[in-house]
Amino acid sequence: MAGTETERPRTGEGSRAGDLAGGDLAGGDLAGLEAGLDALDAVPVKRTPLREVLLRKVLPPVAAVVLVLVVWKLLVLAGVTDDYKLPDPSAVWGALRRLWLEGTLFGIVWTSVSRGLLGFLAALAIGTPLGLLVARVPLIRAALGPVLSGLQSLPSVAWVPAAVIWLGITDSAMYAVILLGAVPSIANGLVSGIDQVPPLYLRAGRTMGATGARGAWHVLLPAALPGYLAGLKQGWAFSWRSLMAAELIASSPDLGLGLGQYLENARTDSDMPGVLLGIVLILFVGIAIDLIVFSPLERRVLRSRGLATR
């Protein structure tokens, strides 16, 4: 206190000295205090270096795959079962090589992937407005909400017979099955995304004048985005699953050879390496689309909001 006063050019007079010192402290030291608080409390954001990403995220799944292959090979070497039930991993590799050399590999994968993506986009176009209506209109919610939740737990394979009778063994039947599988997921994702929007955001938006359509665009939809993305991700998984079920059951030469049909053909030929290859390819496509499209999108959204845990 005394030190502060001697440093000041003008000395405080009488009873005001205390007030002045207080005012000075408030003006000068508080700014410094504030800067110190900001520096101490600010949350540091660091990016993980590439090496660490490789070590922590890429290595473990690769090691797991290698482990599966090793166990598989050991089982074959131990001769636990007949060759036609459990072929050598190299036989599956051979089947893959054959498809590659025939030049049909990409054709088969693309037939299914293009169907799956197209169906997913259609499901997106239907599921999004449907989800908005269900979330925001109480009457529609009361009517359709339980139906949508129920449909989500109905395996979409169950729709295949109906789709085939209605539409025949056609591409339309495939798309119908995809839509019935994916639309409920996408709509439900948006509904739960909107339900989880903190009411505080909506109040804050309203005090700033974001009401009606402006409120939906500037506050409600961006706030609901994480839930919506989770719904999309699940919607894709449902699309892909439904499509494979449809291709397996409703296979016809007119439809073009997709992964499901390749799998079915391999079964009728008792071609176990082909069957295993079909399964691996279906799994691979499902994982690849998730890794290429949905995971980066989701991670970006969550990270920008400070919600990503990793």
Binding site: R16, G22, G23, A31, L33, E34, L37, Y201, M208, R305
Partner: protein, 270 residues
């Protein structure tokens, strides 16, 4: 030179306020006139009459259940009174909450720009205005920061900047510093007083912290609980800049706390 403390009951509010330019038309400010509010037949606010004059800083004080937040919602236009009228001539008031309520999908700067955009500020001017407001709350370099990268105190300062971006004449604050630690709160008291004295804002500040109310307000209004009624009000004549540890602030706080305790005890006897 002990600061003079004058106390008035609510009945004499009008005569107490007459000292400051009552002859001029009340350009802005808040006029709460015999407001009642009840939910499901239960009265939450009972006959509240309270004026906040243009440029005045009024603190609303009360225990739980006094309807402080309800009253702010009414003034903010988020809800309607059951009876009585509320006039906010300056247009839509800005509102600050206990939680920062910043949108996590936008950066600090973009949060402010959204308020500017909703107010109708042309796109070309928004960026510069947002940066000016950030500098005003001493966060000049934080335009691109995400909300989760800011500390609690910084978030409330961005929230204050966003509220100021609405360019309202009236700022409503609902316990905005209650979740902060004492030192950060102290700093924000200082910033708020500084910004208030640099602008012509009328502030209605709700708190349950008596010291905070005395530290900040020109007037402190005590509300009773269940239903909320204006019990008493104090004019705080301690000159700014005040500090929360000032003896005069402490003295008046003791007096007001006694009154508040009395109000709370009354409910134990019911």
């Amino acid at each position: 030179m002990a600061p003079a403390l004058s106390t008035n009951t609510s009945a004499t509010t009008a005569s107490a306020t007459a000292a400051v330019g009552e002859d001029r038309a009340p350009a802005t400010g808040v006029r709460i006139d015999h407001v009642h509010k009840s939910y499901d037949g239960r009265s939450v606010l009972d006959d509240i009459t309270l004026d906040v004059r243009p440029g005045e800083f009024v603190c609303l004080l009360g225990a739980s259940g006094c309807g402080k937040s309800t009253l702010l919602n009414l003034v903010a236009g988020l809800d309607r009174p059951s009876a009585g009228t509320i006039e906010v001539p300056g247009g839509r008031p800005a509102l600050m909450f206990q939680e920062h309520a910043l949108f996590p999908w936008l950066t600090a700067g973009r949060n402010i720009e959204l308020a500017l955009r909703l107010r109708g500020v042309p796109r070309a001017e928004r960026r510069a205005e947002a940066e000016r407001l950030l500098r005003l709350v001493r966060l000049g370099g934080s335009y691109g920061k995400r909300v989760h990268e800011l500390s609690g105190g910084m978030r409330q300062r961005v929230a204050l900047a966003r509220a100021l971006a609405q360019d309202s004449r009236v700022l409503l604050m609902d316990e905005p510093f209650a979740a902060l630690d004492a030192i950060t709160r102290d700093v924000l008291h200082h910033e708020l007083t500084r910004i208030w004295s640099e602008t012509s804002l009328s502030v209605l500040f709700v708190t349950h912290n008596v010291r905070e109310a005395v530290r900040l307000g020109q007037r402190v209004v005590l509300l009773s609980s269940r239903p909320g009624r204006v019990v008493r009000e104090w004019t705080v004549d301690i000159p700014q800049p005040r500090r929360i540890e000032d003896a005069a602030v402490a003295d008046l706080s003791v007096e007001i706390t006694e009154e508040l305790r009395g109000e709370i005890r009354r409910h134990g006897r019911d």
